[in-house]
Symmetry: C2
Subunit: 200 residues, 2 copies
């Protein structure tokens, strides 16, 4: 019954990335996050910023329309599809090296057929997420709420398009936690404990 | 930061009711489930079976259409609304008595403004739920899968209609657990632990 991989899906600003890293640290296994971006950058020649954005977020106003355009001439959609294929391969390669934590990037969907994954979703309420992004990324022209809603929408759209399942729906994860209400430390403990108990 | 109430929302066949009862037992607090039905039955004169069905499930083919019919003559919709008001009152009365676990019936939505609730959602995959309902309720004319999908749809519709929020979406709960993958015992431990730690 032991898990091979922990996948952390998360709302932007929920602190899911930090929670994933801390879980990996406590379990003594690697956490893949920036490594994925770096590997895709190496193989594709695209910048890390471009990959970071295109590898998880669909621009639901332009890209999504392009993706369904009948002309098939959209470079944006083609790049996105190309990055999806690369991302999939990089994630499969990393997973094959042994137990690990993988942050985002549809790893839950990509790996679930071949690995026993503990699928985690981290979320928090709007106020907590606003605080988090202001502390971590500072003020921007757009309000924190607008930035969060926009990111949510893009991530949801991207996930739906490539996996045909719903992002953030409880039944698609083994465990979903409100990091704002429970606290990041408690989330780390719960995930670590579930993983460890299953290895026994 | 201590919680006053634990609300357990659950998919039919996920064992959420049993998990809720066990949590209450370990915490030494009451669990309200059948008590709610009994109190509504006393006050309304309706049978427990009728309340059990109408107090959580919308018949999305007939009732939902009736609820929006312009004639306003639907007795079915009126009974449902009447039961909603009664259910709301009974749940508020029970909550006012002190810490407790409440199973289903939109208690998460009804109580969250006035109480510090730990909102839990329990789900499981289709295979585990099929096994569960066959063991607990036996064979019926309709396939287990059809029964489960029908119940899910009705519960989702009912919840959406009365609370205007989405049932089963992770961000509406503090913690969502897959009882099939994690096991009921592990779910009980996690919920009990979160509640106890918050009291400290």
């Amino acid at each position: 019954m032991s898990y091979q991989i922990i996948t952390i899906s998360r709302e932007f600003g929920s602190g899911g990335r930090t929670i994933g890293r801390e879980v990996a640290e406590r379990l003594g296994i690697p956490c893949y996050d920036q490594e994925i971006i770096e590997k895709i950058a190496e193989e594709s020649g695209f910048s890390k910023e471009y990959i970071e954005d295109k590898g998880e977020y669909a621009n639901h106003k332009s890209w999504f329309a392009n993706a369904f355009a009948s002309s098939g001439t959209s470079h944006s959609a083609s790049n996105q599809d190309y990055l999806w294929v690369l991302q999939r391969r990089v994630i499969c390669d990393l997973a094959s090296k042994g137990p690990c934590v993988i942050i985002g990037r549809c790893a839950d969907y990509i790996l679930e057929k071949d690995y026993k994954c503990l699928k985690v979703f981290i979320h928090a309420d709007m106020e907590k997420r606003k605080q988090h992004i202001l502390e971590h990324y500072g003020e921007r022209k757009e309000s924190p709420e607008k930035r969060l809603k926009d990111k949510d929408k893009k991530r949801e759209t991207y996930y739906k398009y490539y996996t045909d399942t719903e992002w953030g729906v409880a039944k698609n994860y083994h465990i979903s936690l409100d990091s704002g209400a429970l606290g990041a430390e408690r989330c780390v403990e719960i995930i670590t404990e579930i993983y460890k108990q299953a290895q026994e």
